[in-house]
Amino acid sequence: MKPQVPAVDPKRAEAVFEDAKPRYTVQQAKVEANRCLYCHDAPCIKACPTDINIPEFIRKIGTGNVQGAARTILESNVLGTSCARVCPVEVLCVGDCVHNLQGVPPIQIGKLQRFATDAAMDAGWQFFEAGKDTGKSVGLVGAGPASLAAAHRLRRFGHKVTIYEKGNTLGGLNTTGVAPYKLKADASLAEVEWILSIGGIEIVSNVEVPTQLSWAELEKKHDALFLGLGLGADSWLDVPGKQLAGVRGAVDFIAELKAKPVDLSAVKHAVVVGGGNTAIDAVRELLVLKAKKVGALESVTMVYRGTEAGMSGYVHEWAYAKEEGAQVSWQAQPIAFEGKDRVTGLRCTRLDAAKKPIAGTDFTVPADLVLLAVGQAKLGALVAGLAGVKVDKGVIVTDEAGATGRPGVYAGGDCRNGGKEVVNAAGEGRDAAEAIDAFFKAGGRRG
């Protein structure tokens, strides 16, 4: 039986967002495809964490073989549809296009990829089938990109697959986290449905491992395990007023606006604390809500303890945020949330170049909503009950293929790489599936 993907709320706040990079028309795709030099051993392939054969799929778009283009993409990366929209291509494939070296605009690989994969989703093209049953079974924890990529590849090998997910939706942060102007929840779920259509991927939702289902039980049930846990809850600032209403984690807030309506009627001034990509995303999403006149938003301010040059968020993303009207306070350290029951302001102090507070520089930024984007907890600790699995700074330690120190236990995605992109999770999941298959072929002994 085919597992159903959950429905989305049509009134959810993200519904008002528009595509930042709309789908190419046939004409646009053809012109762009024909600009590609079809490089040999292309740098763009090397820059793609799932090594999609980019020149090949672009050549196919140019000859009108869109179906073949989609197959080439999805063969390497079953999440190629969402990656086409959410990948930071500026620092991946597009950034390494050789056209950049002669001052010619680089090929818009993400847009071409979207052209081909959207066509595949629309038409329901199926390129892959499940392999002959091997009698082996794999349990995957978490239903994010890493587990989905692994599950699909494992099914192609013919292994039985069960995914355990603590939440009630599928797709991980692809559904609940990425900015709606790149990818909305319904598009992410459509991709999940396409992935599941290979058949035989069992989904067990609303079960948290190991609290509701122990590692021992999982290991008893399955011949191998894959951990695609992602990262944990938003980190918090330990300063006075931290419990006030209106102080929220950024990832938590984004998950809400992607799933349901949000009430911003009492929010004139929003502040986002942090300087990474989650912070920039939160700023840009609030600016869209402001422009769409959702709630009472008048200003959106980012408060970051470092300098503009030192921020960890992508330069191109921050450039968009500035264009869209973001305000910012650099080298500012929050020292208290002000207000009685609800937050009304963020008290800060200035930092010097060495990030030391400068005495007498305290100031207050008015704030009816403060989003904290200062990191997420790492979930590595969850695996404490699995002897042999090593965790370093919260991240699960594996070899190159994703094998942990415990035979038959593999990991991939954010819980293994500390928090990268969807495409990294997709690649690591796929590679771990290859390693699991090799493990079975070699006898699959748990030691």
Binding site: V26, Y38, H40, R59, K60, T63, G64, N65, G68, R71
Partner: protein, 424 residues
């Protein structure tokens, strides 16, 4: 997946895509890599008395930023020892028994033909191709196009070959003739099982403006080369079609000349070729292009409901006729879709300077979409060709009330023709 198995003159291959006899088919290692990439067959680089080549050897013409739309070369036949070639043919056939290995040959005397045919067949060749086409170097030695241009010589040598060959024989024709028919017929009279065409076209690819030397340059001198690549496809298509539609010809055809992708291949098949051979596009882009060719052809066949490659061979031939049979009363005019128009006005300038001055700027200077004067439009298609937007300019049929009438019917039966347009 549809079955792409192809039979050309008795030579069977898993798909209709063969490497042409040229550098990509120069050695066993190369051809084996090509088969691994998906090519269905290969015509081995022409074997004969090994020669010595010059440098440089190649030239190309670009056009508006696209490199090598046309290509030319002054290379001769194989420069590798015959026994090495034969050993590699043997090894290749052993590793790829289902793929077609055709061996191209070019020698002079009957005795030489007899010997080389036996050696090629002993090595495992699935078929032979007679190179009567090379238009440079070899023809100065009385071979290549010097043979292909003389129907009597072509027939005689083909006849020798047919005496000794046990495997199917394709005669590779030269396009350096005014009419291809007598040459195809000569091969047929000689007993050939099929023909392949075209070989390259005599050409000078360019002239160096500083050294006053034609290209490619060999120590300050040059010579004519053989032209090939995408730009020659229309010439090759015509020659293939001319043979395919000739009532008495009827031999299988292997189509060559400017095939760059699956679309080009389909054109050759529709005009009567049983398969295609590719040289230049592989030289420019590598064996890997075959992946898209196989997929594109398979999807096309599925869409059109063709069960086998043979099903589509010649489908366009009945629609290829003489000018005198065309319907003179069929009238079209250009229509510009204002919603699609991007206002580049390339159609306007083309019509004004290159056609019949019937596309005009809008009277409203704020509107960039041009206007077609349909009363003057002769339906020539030029505007549609220069328009960079697909589907923006269409040629719409005009109901003018005249029943169909060809020029021949007009001459023989006095059929009534519509009044001329744009001839004032």
């Amino acid at each position: 997946m549809v079955d792409l198995t192809t039979n050309c003159a008795g030579i069977v291959s898993p798909n209709p895509f063969w490497l042409a006899s040229a550098p990509p088919a120069n050695s066993g290692a190369q051809i084996q890599r090509a088969f691994e990439a998906g090519w269905g067959g290969a015509v081995w680089k022409t074997l004969g008395q090994p020669i010595q080549n010059v440098s440089s050897r190649f030239g190309a013409v670009g056009y508006r930023g696209t490199a090598a739309v046309g290509f030319n070369n002054i290379e001769l036949i194989t420069d590798r020892p015959l026994e090495v070639n034969f050993r590699e043919i043997y090894e290749t056939k052993k590793k790829f028994p289902k793929h077609a290995v055709v061996v191209s040959l070019m020698v002079e005397t009957e005795a030489e033909w007899k010997e080389i045919i036996a050696r090629a067949e002993d090595a495992g060749a699935d078929g032979l191709e007679l190179n009567f086409g090379c238009p440079h170097g070899m023809c100065e030695r009385g071979m290549g196009s010097a043979v292909g241009q003389e129907p009597k010589v072509n027939e005689r040598i083909t006849g020798w070959v047919m005496k000794y060959a046990k495997k199917p024989v394709l005669v590779k024709l030269t396009p350096n003739v005014s009419d291809i028919l007598p040459h195809g017929m000569a091969a047929k009279r000689g007993g050939a099982n099929g023909v392949s065409l075209i070989n390259t076209i005599k050409s000078i690819i360019g002239v160096d403006l500083d050294t006053f030397t034609p290209m490619p340059v060999v120590a300050g001198q040059s010579t004519n080369g053989g032209y090939c690549g995408s730009a020659v496809r229309p010439i090759a298509l015509h020659m293939v079609g001319a043979l395919a539609r000739h009532r008495e010809f009827g031999l299988p055809i292997s189509g060559i000349g400017g095939v760059t992708n699956w679309r080009d291949a389909v054109e050759f098949l529709l005009l009567g070729a049983s398969n295609v051979q590719v040289c230049t596009e592989v030289m420019l882009r590598g064996y890997r292009i075959v992946e898209d060719m196989i997929e594109g052809l398979s999807q096309y066949m599925e869409e059109k409901g063709f069960k086998s490659v043979q099903d589509m061979v010649g489908k366009a031939v009945p629609r290829f006729s003489e000018w005198g049979n065309l319907d003179m009363n069929y009238e079209t005019v250009a229509k510009i879709d204002a919603a699609k128009c991007i206002g580049c006005q390339l159609c306007l300038v083309a019509c004004h300077d290159g056609a019949h001055q019937c596309i005009h700027p809008s009277k409203d200077s704020a509107v960039r979409v041009p206007v077609v004067d349909e009363a003057e439009c002769v339906g020539c298609n030029l505007c549609q060709i220069v328009c960079p937007v697909d589907g923006c300019i269409t040629m719409a049929k005009v109901e003018n009330g005249f029943p169909p009438a060809s020029w021949n019917e007009h001459l023989s039966q006095g059929a009534k023709l519509r009044p001329k347009k744009g001839a004032h």
